[in-house]
Amino acid sequence: MSQAPRRKPRVQKSGDQLVSPEDLVRFYKDMLLIRRFEEKAGQLYGMGLIGGFCHLYIGQEAVVVGLEACSEEQDTVITSYRDHGHMLASGMDAKGVMAELTGRRGGYSKGKGGSMHMFSAEKGFFGGHGIVAAQVPLGTGLAFAHQYSGDNGVCFCYLGDGAVNQGQVYESFNMAALWKLPVVYVIENNRYGMGTSVERASANPDLHLRGSAYGIASEAVDGMSVEAVFEAGQRAAEHARSGKGPYILEAKTYRYRGHSMSDPAKYRSKEEVAKMRSEHDPIDQVKNKILGLGVIDEDGLKEIDKEVKAIVTESAEFAQTSPEPDPSELYTDVLIEA
């Protein structure tokens, strides 16, 4: 399987079906790549090859894969620190992402950014931000730039259920609604902001309503279903792109792992996690559907598994063989020399 292109072409609707069987197979591949990549990242962390903070996206794959399929060439993406999935979905090279996690010169930021700070202007990915909710005004600014330049682009600005209680989110909502900026705010509600559940943090846990004071159109969607995300994402992107202003999409999702690698996740029961994994897994759902549709058989799935595994293995090997940055890099990139 070759790496994803800069942006995938938008999914074509075929007849009454919202997503074609072939698209579902691609969604499966894209989600599986994120899952396997993150598992490998967790493993490398365990070996001491990845340091510091490392926030895995396992369980939430349907959100970014479904929405990426709604995007166009000129669109932009920005998110928080749980960002590896967004990079892969944006078409960034798995080797460069993994090598950044290990702090090597082959990484997207030459090893100077780390897990939370990677960017690819070429792929329209603007980070990777470690301060909760800082990406929301920044993403609003990307949308401002889309509007200013008239490029018909939309910014997909992701935030978590923890971020929605930061004041700057509402400063952004206000400006985006006031100026009708083309931005889709995707609230990835995985139910816990670190160890605090939404119910314990938010006076009204219906997070998609958080823009209602600004008249922002919104909806909540099953974030474990890539088809549902894609369907809602089409509406959201269309709304923003057509000049109607921002749109809030709350994707109800779930993270299987802890907040970061060192989180034992004692704030929720094992049964809760097990139930999500066994009954709502986004990858299993699509797998069962495509098998049922007969668009692929077990051998075909195995082939995809193999391809995905090869990409991930290659990225992990690259991330270990790529040298550490040269000490002279310490002083570069502080300022652009005019």
Binding site: G48, S109, K110, A145, Y148, S172
Partner: protein, 477 residues
């Protein structure tokens, strides 16, 4: 070849841990994501998930074992098609020497963190030179400034407006945003006329939402626009300081150089008059502390115009500290469309031989007045207008001190870790043998600004305090 399962590091600081419990037995089938063991780290008990699928072939470290070092081989998983005979060979060698399993890279030795630290420590000795350590904070040698014959008289306010207008005409990507910048024509009338010329797309009135619009502007700059953010006063920039530092200043570095943030943050800085503690503060040392930013602070209208144009053209984030009291003062400004001041270049406003006085913004005028008073007393003061705080024109300061052998720094800000502290430090490092007296700092008094007129007057440095400080370093009475 069986897949090797190594003792994982499950926190940023873990070096060893207790293998508390095996959740799978030998012979059990495991899938990727299955919890196979519980491990006690230095912080908590963590579940350890398998990263590969197969059959748990052999447990090599029994549950209950304490002090198991990270990366110790703790178990072997038999991959599809392997049987128990594969175990003996795999368990024997040290984990580091085992070949890498095809589907896994677990066998590679972990170069745990030590390498990068060692590499820096082993770098050339010259890298410890303080000048190198503050590479982007100090100017290198710079060419002489261009001189201009023709000048025109204008206020600082007009000079700032003209600088913005000229740069907005020059580059479509430049736009101004802030509170009251458009229809109101600027809270201090700095943006007067800009809305009429450039329209609401490029002169944007924002809600009172500093954190929001600063972050928004930084995001727009990531995408290649060149925003000028006006803070009505810099006091309100504290609401937005996270985006100035964490988003604007650090992104180029965090992105390995591929994504910058060309943006100007400008507005009135320092004390005005009788506006109390929350509206009377100098932010020079706050922002000058941070790599990734440039910090400028003009005094004259010529400074204001030349430096603001340079700031807008600069590809980096620039903090531009103006002064409300100066807005209405008039100066001669070069009348030339190409007039610009290079960033990082101080200006000797008055040459002298007995003492070097450094100052910036409003304090340059006060220092020049003090120099007049000192001249009458037979002391020749050289007054340096810093203009650029970061990078600081250390060569000009040091050269001057080597000539005068004495140095007094003047600033409105608080003394602790102020700009004067930096100047004192750098003069100490680079001109110690030329000094005839310790460097003295004249600063704002170390209190929140009081409202009462008499108390306020005691806080801000005045001519008298500068004169006294100079006399002290000259051992004159």
């Amino acid at each position: 070849m069986p897949i090797q399962v190594l003792m994982p590091a499950l926190s940023p600081t873990m070096t060893e841990g207790k293998l508390a419990k095996w959740c799978k037995k030998e012979g059990d089938t495991v899938a990727a994501g299955d919890v196979i063991a519980e491990i006690e780290t230095d912080k908590a008990t963590m579940e350890f998930e398998a990263a590969d699928e197969g059959v748990l072939g052999k447990i090599l470290v029994q549950e209950g074992t304490e002090g198991v070092a990270v990366n110790t081989l703790i178990a072997l998983i038999l991959a599809d098609g392997e049987d128990a005979s594969a175990l003996d060979a795999a368990a024997a060698p040290a984990p580091a020497a085992a070949p890498v399993a095809a589907a896994s890279v677990v066998a590679a030795p972990a170069p745990v963190a030590a390498a990068p630290v060692a590499a820096v420590a082993a770098g050339p000795a010259e890298e410890l030179d303080p000048v190198i350590l503050t590479k982007t904070a100090y100017s290198g040698p710079m060419p002489d400034e261009k001189t201009y014959d023709k000048t025109v008289r204008m206020t600082v306010r007009e000079a700032l407006r003209d600088a913005m207008a000229e740069e907005m005409r020059r580059d479509e990507k430049v736009f101004l945003l802030g509170e009251e910048v458009a229809q109101y024509q600027g809270a201090y009338k700095v943006s007067q006329g800009l809305l009429d010329e450039f329209g609401p797309k490029r002169v944007v009135d924002t809600p009172i939402t500093e954190l929001g619009f600063t972050g928004m502007a930084a995001g727009a700059a990531f995408k290649g626009l060149r925003p000028i953010v006006e803070f009505m006063t810099f006091n309100f920039s504290m609401q937005a300081i996270d985006h100035i530092i964490n988003s604007a200043a650090k992104t180029l570095y965090m992105a390995g150089g591929q994504l910058g943030c060309p943006i100007v943050f400008r507005g009135a800085n320092g004390a005005a008059a009788r506006v109390g503690a929350q509206h009377s503060q100098c932010y020079a040392s706050w922002y000058a502390h941070c790599p990734g930013l440039k910090v400028l602070s003009p005094w004259s209208a010529a400074d204001a115009k030349g430096l603001l144009k340079a700031a807008i053209r600069d590809p980096n984030p620039v903090v531009f500290l103006e002064n409300e009291i100066l807005y209405g003062q008039s100066f001669d400004v070069p009348d030339d469309p190409d007039y610009i001041i290079p960033i990082g270049k101080a200006k000797i406003e008055r040459p002298g031989t007995d003492v070097t006085i450094t100052a910036f913004s409003l304090m340059v005028g006060t220092a020049l007045e003090a120099a007049e008073v000192l001249a009458a007393q037979g002391i020749s003061a050289e007054v340096i207008n810093l203009r650029s705080i970061r990078p600081l024109d250390v060569p000009t300061i040091v050269q001057s001190v080597k000539k005068t052998n004495r140095c007094v720094s003047v600033e409105e800000g608080w003394p602790f870790a102020g700009i004067g502290s930096e100047i004192s430090s750098v003069v100490n490092e680079q001109a110690f043998d030329w000094l005839d007296a310790p460097v003295r700092r004249v600063t704002g008094v170390d209190v929140p600004m009081p409202y009462a007129a008499n108390l306020e007057k005691l806080v801000v440095p005045d001519v008298n305090r500068i004169v006294e400080a100079v006399k002290a370093v000259c051992y004159a009475s």
